[in-house]
Symmetry: C2
Subunit: 588 residues, 2 copies
């Protein structure tokens, strides 16, 4: 969202700062967290319209239309989320705002990558239009990876250099979003070079996704003009990237990494300005229950980061990254995006002000948010499927045996193969293994399911399906019984998108995503509760061991841009070699 402060407001602020006019709002008796100097000071904050007009000694001015007594509570700048996919909350943008604003987040840098992969440019347009007048500042990026693995998958749209050039020319687009296809960058593949050329020419910032990148590859990635990373895998990785000159966006999603990251950062002579925080993807139930940036900060502090330094990462450091010197500091002239904390170490948010308005109190929004009509065209462009669609056909063999290719492992995949029985032309999936299916749903490829036998997930005792599967968001399914898989698929198709769990031949949990097959129309409490039921039900039909094999791995399993084997709507793909493999190795 682009905004400028009307100059008439500045005129009033100039007068109010000098006591010649009342403030619109005076926050009295605050302790202010100064994230420039890392001091805490007692002060009153005078607000005019959307901006801070004055931060002055307690009691110096008292003339104000409205006065709030803060009684010594701590005021910090509003939190900024350096990198987020709002879609993972499965909420409409105004609903997302209702959740995160009371948690202290006042600005997010949104990569509407998932919407873009389904709706194309219209997805980005919706992200911009739907967020113009909300109490949360959505700064929108142009998604760089539509699709994420060109040649290995087909999503709902294709962004090449022309589309990126177009997007970067929009005033509302502030940067190019995470460049995920690292290999395409390092190998200077033509499509990626076209995208990066357009982005670099715009002068806007370019976000990275440098998972595991190190040494020469890291240098090449920076040389391409990419300057931030949120895919930190260890303390050493964080240090290498900070020292290389990246903006490092610490992500909360991999909690087990954070103590090591904090310990490593604390060894530096100073915590660099280039250290920031982000949430990336957060499930609705987690977001509602534990929080977003507030939760990340709380854990960083718990793991040993100085509390003010943590706040600094989420405020001024992110403002610097976004080149937004109207944000990130409790100072006259800046936007009045403020968080009131009753406990710094616990990041306990009492109240939130955005654009000078008191918008949240005690964890709840106290102002209404405006819904912009979402795109409701059915994006599930696939007809009803049958049980046979979920059987692996072995051409040329009616009854016998065949050696077929499998994917082994959950999060970190490897190729494997197994010998299966062939009965009536179909492979018999061993009792202890499962089937994964991908159904193209964008009307741009054959909607016949692609199937693979997966090892390492144990047997699915039911079926799971979702239209939200990174990054092409084709319909993804897991299960064993073809009838249950078909039921799960048809349920999602019938809801025009959504997520469903089938057990014992019946649907036991479901949540509709009628917006692009990824966003619910429900309110946050509904979405969170339904999602929690989904996770619970899925847990009952699948063994969630070892612990890292989390629910998240489900939708990540199709991430064809990552190294190793994946299943996409084009078949079995290899993110390392970029090849597409046949399921069947040989009939025997």
């Amino acid at each position: 969202m682009l905004e400028s402060i009307p100059f008439a407001v500045r005129r009033r602020a100039i007068a109010a700062a000098q006591g010649r006019e009342p403030f619109d709002l005076l926050l009295r008796g605050a302790r202010v967290a100064d994230v420039a100097t890392l001091e805490i000071r007692e002060a009153d904050i005078g607000i005019v319209g959307p901006m801070i007009a004055s931060v002055h000694a307690p009691g110096a001015f008292s003339d104000a239309t409205v006065t709030h007594d803060l009684n010594g509570l701590l005021v910090t700048p509003g939190f900024i989320d350096a990198h987020v996919h709002v879609e993972s909350s499965h909420m409409l943008p105004h609903r997302y705002a209702e959740v995160v604003v009371p948690q202290g987040t006042t600005t997010i840098f949104w990569d509407p990558h998932e919407l873009a992969n389904v709706l194309g440019l219209d997805g980005i347009r919706y992200a911009i239009e739907a967020t113009r007048n909300l109490p949360l500042r959505f700064i929108v990026q142009a998604s760089s990876c539509v699709p994420a693995a060109p040649g290995l998958e087909i999503s709902g749209a294709d962004f090449r250099s022309d589309e990126i050039r177009e997007l970067m020319s929009w005033p509302d687009v502030a940067g190019l979003a995470e460049v995920m296809d690292m290999r395409a960058v390092l190998e200077a593949q033509p499509r990626m070079m076209g995208i990066l050329e357009a982005a670099n020419a715009s002068g806007k910032i370019i976000e990275g996704h440098a998972r595991g990148l190190t040494g020469p590859g890291l240098m090449a990635y920076l040389a391409a003009g990419i300057s931030a990373d949120h895919e930190i895998t260890s303390g050493a990785d964080a240090l290498e990237k900070l020292r290389a000159g990246f903006t490092v966006e610490i992500r909360g999603s991999h909690d087990y990494l954070l103590p090591d990251v904090v310990a490593a950062i604390n060894t530096l002579p100073v915590i660099p300005t280039s250290l920031t925080v982000c949430t990336d993807d957060v499930f609705p139930d987690y977001l509602v229950e534990f929080g977003g940036i507030n939760d990340v900060l709380r854990r960083l502090i718990r793991y040993g980061m100085d509390p003010l330094q943590a706040i600094r990462c989420a405020t001024i450091n992110n403002a610097i990254r976004l080149r937004r010197d109207d944000l990130g500091l409790v100072a006259a002239g800046r936007r009045a995006d403020l968080v009131v904390l009753s406990d710094l170490n616990e990041v306990r948010v009492e109240a939130v002000y955005t654009g000078g308005r008191h918008v949240a109190q005690g964890g709840r929004m106290i102002v209404p948010t405006t819904e912009t009509k979402p795109p409701l065209d059915n994006t599930m462009r696939v007809g009803p499927l049958t049980s046979d669609d979920f059987r692996i056909r072995i051409p040329g063999v009616t009854n016998g045996r065949a050696l077929i290719q499998t994917i082994k492992g959950a999060r970190f995949n490897a190729w494997s193969e197994i010998e299966v029985e062939v009965r009536d032309g179909f492979a018999v999936v061993p009792e202890d293994l499962s089937v994964m299916a991908i159904v193209h749903r964008h009307g741009r490829n054959d909607p016949k399911p692609q199937l693979a036998i997966i090892e390492g997930w144990d047997r699915w005792r039911g079926a799971f399906a979702t239209s939200y599967s990174h990054d092409s968001h084709n319909l993804i399914l897991y299960g064993h019984n073809p009838a249950e898989l078909a039921l799960a698929a048809n349920t999602v198709i019938g809801m025009q998108g959504g997520i469903v769990v089938v057990k014992d031949g019946a649907v036991v949990a479901q949540l509709a995503y009628p917006v692009a097959g990824m966003l619910s129309l429900g309110d946050p409490a509904e979405v969170a509760a339904a999602h929690k039921r989904i996770v619970k039900a899925a847990g009952e039909i699948c063994t969630w061991q070892p612990p890292y094999r989390t629910f998240k791995a489900l939708s990540g399993q199709s991430l064809a841009c990552n190294p190793g084997p994946h299943l996409t709507d084009l078949g079995l793909t290899d993110g390392t070699t970029k090849e597409i493999r046949p399921t069947l190795i040989r009939a025997m």
Copy 2:
């Protein structure tokens, strides 16, 4: 100067970083100052075209077209000067570059305020055009104060909101330059509000000049959208402004303030990113002999600032202020603007690279700079003057006495009055006092000299004249003897601008400023030597006591925007009350 790195260069850098192509230039065996983390590390730096392609472990790659062995010398990012008026060097831009680049300065934020006050928009245009292809990056600002004291003086141009709107729309203009008329801001005077409205609407940064501003005035100034200050008067002032949210640009010009400023800053928990450095106005002889930013840094370190923190202020902190994340860090992807130091504490510069080129070595440029034809129209739009033009006429009195208004003091002025003898219709200037004169030279006002008797300068034993007098740059003169004053004036007029000292009825030192009455065509050594002779000669005709009454006070004496009495081409003015006073109080 706007620049973008051609994408073909980035492609080569991507390849070179991975060892697939040679670097254009490899700096081997460096110790790199990391101003993000404040560490020093051993590394080699691979350069492709104007950019850094890789900063890697010593010896990791050796394939390069050219290799320089640094043998353990320290490499820092190129220094950035946050605020400078190049005109005060009296050198053409390419000559200025020849001086400061070997000192380590690779980027300057230039307010061509003096050129603008003489040449108007053409002055800014020249500042942009003349600096496009130099080894020094000139980032040009739109001057906000043309003239600096509207209504109290007439300079060569008037920038109102229309001109500022026009300038802010130029891609080469990066911000609005120091807003000097603080009172106009605080009182929300219409002309200033129009200028600030245009600047705020552009979204570009707005530089301040908040001399002595504190408390509510400081808040109002910030609320107006102004966010930096270089007019620091004490350590307490620096702290108040940093805490208020300003970018503080420590200026080297008032050396006696710096120990206090450093001590104050060292009391903060962290040195904020908003602390930067600048030179503002530096005389040519000082600049050549002692330096610019390198000299400021050297003194800050001497007064107790951590050396890497000082370098940080001049590099990444200024890059952040300028929203230039391609500058300020020795990191892949950024511009290869590098300084090689043999001594960090002394900021001893051995070599300088700008845009990947080795441009200076051992204090000397080793590449040619390109001169852009300067504007050479005669800007001294005033005919020869006579002795009588420098006599104070007392209307209505032929012989007798009169009480006349005087200006008392040098730097800090006060109104005073004296009784003088009137002989043949002219005041007889007492033997122990002197005369100051201002001659309008822009052809926009009556070019008859305005005269005032000044107290506190003792008697000038000769005459001094210069066409470089802040901020309207009318011809300013000091002296006693009308014939000597006329000779000084006519000498400057004859040179089409310049500076001159007359003693014993003859010119004893002079330097021509044929470009806008402020820039010499000479090379740096010539300009510096001539300026040194001027200062020496002026010292012989004027008592330089007390010490603060420096040579600088001469051209500052006409700064009508400052509080208190000044003489301008409109007469005796009061910067506090904004009134114009008559010289004559009453004939007696």
